[in-house]
Amino acid sequence: MFSFVVKKLGFIKSIPLTALIFDSGIKLWQYIFEPKKLILLDSLEDIVLSWEGVDISLHKFGGTQFNFHKNEIGHVHSNGILDILFDRETKNNLILEGKAEQHHVFEKSGWISFYIKSEADIQPAAHLLRESYLRIAQKST
């Protein structure tokens, strides 16, 4: 469903708030059918927010965006898809090592996706975000 909407109806995200509303629909779905997923995403949020200088905002295409001084570290959609932008080389290495997958939409970019399905995925997800955080923090200093 998510994949169909994102790939086939992606154009509607240009309408203000549409993506946020879609994400709210996902949250409601998760609340009813998979509430554990919401708890998992909160635990990831708690980990990332414990890092210095990190804040969160709503991602323009729905979900929670992690920022370091207004620079995006990555974002997680409410269905558990974590998206992070790396340089191409890092992306290729992460995919080769099996630590991440091609981005669910933009395959020919530096974006990676990581699918959070269970508690065991939280630490690897946090690790990916930490890598992005350190890169951004290093650039900023």
Partner: protein, 302 residues
Amino acid sequence: MNPSSKSNKVLGFIISNLIILAIIAINRSLHVEKTGVLVYSQFVILPMLMGIISAWFWRDYKLKTKTIVGYAVINSLLAIALSYLFLGEGVICLIIVSPLILVFVITGSFIGKMMFRKKNQTLNVSIVSLLFMVFVVDSISDHHYENMVSDEIIINAPASTIWKNVVAFEKINAPNQYWLFKIGMPSPKQTTVTGYHNGAGRKCIFSNGYTFDEKIVAFDVNKNLTFDIVAQPQDPEIMGHIDIKRGQFLLKDNGNGTTTLIGNSWYKLRVFPIWYYDVWAESITRNVHLRVMDHIKELSEQ
């Protein structure tokens, strides 16, 4: 948790609902809504505003996502209950509107969560003012939307046999198949006419006794029956939010002993946003068509 923090949480439900009710009441008392039109911002902006207001009361609690969604669901159900009690909306209407209210209250709650994290009062006031401005502009703007729904079935009978069943028919006793009819929405039951000619009166009677008064404006025997709806019931359910303007049955001889029966209906929606409500209007109109047309088919093929 101390008592004051608990009461603050409760205030998040009460105050947000009271503010939204007050806005709707003021809007109605100023007669901003013309001819009972419900504008899109009542279903989009106000629920979001409700979520934002409640998030303000909950801002210091560091609520988890699951809790916020749960609270937003409670808030939405409260709003729906209040709409039933104070705004006179019908149960089926509220069932239809509830997904819209739910997702927008949830959206507002999370927008509010992020807004109040930043403690930027200028930004917060700007966002709320902007939403309110959109609501005001939308309320005073003209809204007009008309649509036509067309359905067709093939009947194993000549047009001359079908025609008399198209003009008027006895009670439909078949059980309802459409889920909204099953849960209580009135469905078409019977049609009567005062005469078999142009200008004659026609009545479409629904299962709850509601009657649509119609006037035949085209009476082309075995080919075309068109009628304008001259009076329709205004109940708190769907009929209060949609004006059925015209209905039509067209019969086309297929040359093989069968006839294609086409049912057309023209309606005007008085509830917005269209992208949401027209899906429902089309579905309901289509199922009204099919219930009548299936009955005509059954009568004609006997």
